[in-house]
Symmetry: C2
Subunit: 284 residues, 2 copies
């Protein structure tokens, strides 16, 4: 017995793995294993890290170009083929060969192939030396499981981005990420997860952030993969010990994110005051 | 030896008290005691709760009108007079008599009088039956201690609001609030504080939220007063036991909030993509 499309429980997994820089074939294998694992677990939506095909800490553009791929690359067809007969959707970060320039991109893939590609629009630090930021808003992809929006890492730190996705109807925001390890008070979550919690709550959406693990050229990561519910609470985490491959899993009623009522007289999106916000002065 | 105006340490206090509904004179006394306490402690910026002069759980508009005051009311002159000879700035919520309508407002006061009045623009639940939302953006007030923006309670849940204040130059956002008690997982902070943490971090501003205490007509409160630094970390809290008067205090270098650089190549506000955001479709 199958439930009606779009209202049943949706099984989300974030598979926190450790890509190897410059080693496309190794990373294809790691991703293939993660997909196989997701299929065995009956996962509906699998989120993988940012730049999962390529690694992150590039010395320069030339090195990144050597491992960048176009959406026509066999990796995508191979991934889609591995999903044949399933309804599983995969969101995965990759270094995109955009011709003259490279992009830090994420693809949404199901058994039929690539459903959407998003090019990260807010680049972090040395990424600006290697990649060109995208110039289009992130997609909201209609899937059998619900509407999935995509952001990549630092994008999530701009409240405008989850807001735009929620206004465009996203019920889940999938966030492939590589969060460089940052300091935080012992009793606190990492700051990026707090941002995700607030974004989920203020927009009434689910958010699935898949961080990476491992140490790459001395760079450590938060390894703070988290699935957040539409009220901002953490449903599942994959964390340390450092370098381990870990998967966070949660089963959610994604369609509930369509309901933005939070009191008898309040609606998260309906209570916005766009005319008021437009009174804001020019950006300094 | 006095430090240069605008670069020395700024002592912030949030005095979490329990207003009594409808009892203007009682509340004036409570506020007067809080101000006297702040002066004794050498406080530079004192934040008091939302609707501190009036209480919150009104039966109807008529009851609220009975305790609403205009900016010409003696309370404000009296408060300013009590600040004579000091550089202390007070931010306090009050029920404003706006003529035909009432507003849930906050005033910024120093020894010279009222510097600004802000009328809450996002009303929560039954507030919509009593108050009329403001139609103007919150002010950013230039004080000797730095630039202070003001929001009231539910306003802070709209990421547009702290963003607009940060873009307008706010270094500190003062948030008089009455947070109705909400459920949250045992190990988590209350959701509103998480929103404040994220807003502080994503905008690089300090945020001082002053909640209220007490039980009013059966309504309990989070009593989760918090002063948050520009990275989103909690500097001070005033919490339970329920009903107690407690003060959170922190000394901060407010002018550091002018610096939005967060990596050698990143700037919190400069990295925004206003042209991109404007591609967003019409509000649903």
């Amino acid at each position: 017995v199958s439930v009606a499309s779009g209202t049943g429980p949706v099984r989300i997994a974030c598979h926190q793995l450790a890509p190897v820089i410059g080693e496309l074939e190794t990373n294809r294998r790691l991703i293939g294993e993660a997909v196989a694992d997701a299929l065995r677990a009956g996962t509906d939506v699998l989120v993988l890290p940012e730049l999962a095909t390529s690694g992150y800490v590039f010395a320069d553009t030339a090195e990144a170009r050597g491992v960048s791929i176009t959406p026509e690359h066999g990796f995508f067809a191979e991934t889609a083929a591995s999903l044949a007969g399933s309804r599983t959707v995969v969101v995965v970060g990759f270094a995109e060969d955009g011709g003259d320039v490279l992009h830090n991109s994420a693809a949404v893939i199901d058994a039929s192939g690539i459903l959407a590609v998003y090019r990260k629009t807010h680049l972090w630090d040395r990424e600006t030396l290697v990649f060109t930021p995208g110039d289009r808003l992130p997609p909201v992809v209609d899937t059998v499981h619900g509407r999935i929006g995509v952001l990549v890492c630092y994008d999530l730190e701009f409240p405008e981005m989850p807001r735009l996705l929620a206004l465009a109807g996203a019920e889940l925001i999938a966030v492939p990420t590589n969060w460089p390890a940052g300091e935080h008070p012992e009793a606190e979550r990492v700051a990026e997860v707090i941002a995700a919690q607030a974004a989920a709550r203020t927009n009434g959406v689910f958010i699935a952030c898949c961080d990476r693990s491992g140490v790459e050229r001395g760079q450590e990561w938060n390894e703070a993969t988290a699935i957040v519910d539409r009220f901002g609470w953490i449903l599942a985490e994959a964390g340390r010990p450092s370098g381990a491959t870990e998967t966070a899993r949660a089963e959610v009623l994604l369609h509930l994110a369509r309901d933005k009522a939070i009191s008898p007289r309040n609606d998260l999106l309906g209570d916005r005051r766009p005319g008021l916000y437009a009174q804001g002065g020019p950006v300094r």
